[in-house]
Homo-oligomer: 178 residues x 2
């Protein structure tokens, strides 16, 4: 099927990025693996950055949609836990990209996605704990959210249900949720 070369490039690139890191993957490797030449990539993507960004973007978009579609203000008792569960599932669904980001956090900066993810984190914390949380609560939220994302990376080989239950449990406890 002609026309899906772009998708195939992203597929191969994502696989290599996850396996050996983004910084350690060259366009040459990607094109060789596809059986095409390097310049051919440039027909589909304006630059290497563009290719990488196109792979990370869906996760960032989904994260933003996630907080956009919830009513603002602090979650009621019991709702916060559901929020953590849904958030975990989102990160798990995108776990290949989550892995890329966790292993090379600095990517967000070089791709100008850092600000967006940072803003997302603030809004997420506001949903969990209300606006203007104390530094103490922000720190607890960082443990909770950072911990959950680490788990989607480190325990990607275990069954979802098991990881989800334990990770959400730990995150909720870190937040001192009831």
């Amino acid at each position: 099927m002609p026309g899906d070369t772009k998708a195939r490039i992203q597929e191969v690139a994502r696989e290599l990025f996850v396996r050996q890191g983004v910084q350690n993957t060259s366009l040459r490797q990607i094109s060789e693996r596809l059986g095409i030449t390097k310049p051919a990539l440039y027909y589909h993507f304006a630059s290497r950055e563009d290719l990488v960004r196109s792979i990370l973007q869906p996760l960032v978009d989904d994260l933003e949609r996630f907080v956009d579609t919830r009513p603002p203000g602090e979650a009621r008792a019991g709702e916060a836990r559901a929020l953590l569960e849904d958030c975990f599932e989102l990160m798990w669904r995108h776990r290949e990209v989550t892995t890329m980001i966790v292993r090379e956090l600095s990517l967000l900066g070089t791709l100008d996605l850092g600000e967006r993810v940072f803003a997302w984190q603030r809004r997420m914390i506001a949903l969990l704990l209300g606006p203007d949380p104390t530094p103490e609560l922000q720190i607890r939220a960082t443990v909770a959210l950072g911990g959950m994302s680490d788990c989607t990376v480190e325990y990607a080989h275990l069954p979802v249900a098991q990881v989800k239950r334990a990770a959400v449990e730990a995150a909720a406890a870190a937040l001192a949720l009831p």
Copy 2:
């Protein structure tokens, strides 16, 4: 003082690595900042990898010493919390290097430090929870330890005491410590 050029190189390199990431820092930048030439660096370090490793090593050594100097077996009640506190302080003391690693986790792999850090984590979990913890407990420990290291990076501008108290509190809760 002649003879401390090596230390000055490490100092400048560490600063640049923290500010703009390891991968985005070239030997040219380091040598220019020092007012020496690129080849001069090669008198002090066999390679770029060697330089980077020499900067990360002290943290890894300290982590290993940390678990080496504690009696094996599960910590008693109350001891686990002290263990988390000491661990936090260690990461905070090395927080420049901790930052480098958290932002570019994949460095550990390329420098052959990944195995050592992974083994450290297993031993640390054994100290906290006893040998052969269930997957559930391992996941909780990942949230706790990963969360604490994230905090040393993200809240490096706040007073130690405040970050330490909140981060250890959250980590202990994630572990379901009494």
